[in-house]
Symmetry: C2
Subunit: 141 residues, 2 copies
């Protein structure tokens, strides 16, 4: 049985690592049938990003601006492809405390700023069967 | 400009490849804060699956029942992790025709049955920047 459940509210976005953002934007506009609604540079993450709405869920394309950044390293090791799932949570500080109590490893023990001004944190893929999982606070800054 | 747009309606599910389904179910019940609502064996795909609701989006864990199946090969090559994104489409036959017309490669040129009785097809990851993308028809059988 689960005690003290801290549930996620939904999928905020799915991140896909790509080598060339402009090419990928043109392609995903065809695949999803919608226009890219925003591009953003996130210097802390060394990425250039582009966002789409797939129904109610965001798709985020990520191009590395630095081979030593997390997306650059991911592509070098595994190639292009799905990079992470981001879940919405009601209170990110409480959620991270809950995960630590459940023995789930965290890359970010404290929230930091992600794209679109959200407070985010990544769980450690060794604790999540290899899936890179981000949690995003529902409250915008 | 995009012509003859065939848009997806949303994300139907996200698939995660795991080595041991029972262990992964216990873990994802903690991560997502909800109970697994269904398990299903899909012999055609050589997988045992478990489903969760993350808000309105399904998360599907996939354990291979055969090392030669697609999930078995994926894990051998890349390890556990996020395997595919499934998008809902209004009419899968029309959607596949549209993708072919746009030069997007298909693994399945015709729909086949997936989990939960949906008509599904996979796009070729060489045509989607390495992301394995499934499309699911909105109409249940």
């Amino acid at each position: 049985m689960i005690s003290n459940i801290m549930g996620v509210s939904g999928v905020e976005h799915i991140g896909i690592a790509v080598r060339e953002l402009d090419q990928a934007i043109r392609l995903y506009e065809k695949i999803l049938g919608v226009k890219c609604y925003k591009q953003e540079i996130v210097p802390e993450q060394k990425v250039r990003t582009a966002f789409f709405m797939a129904g109610n869920t965001k798709i985020e394309l990520l191009e590395s601006t630095d081979p030593e950044g997390p997306i650059g390293k991911f592509i070098e090791k595994r190639g292009e492809g799905i990079h992470h799932i981001a879940f919405l949570v009601k209170d990110i500080d409480e959620q991270l405390t809950y995960y630590e109590g459940e023995g789930i490893g965290l890359i970010d023990k404290k929230p930091r700023k992600g794209a679109e001004g959200l407070d985010i944190a990544f769980l450690h893929p060794k604790s999540t069967n290899g899936a890179l999982i981000e949690v995003c606070d529902e409250k915008k800054e």
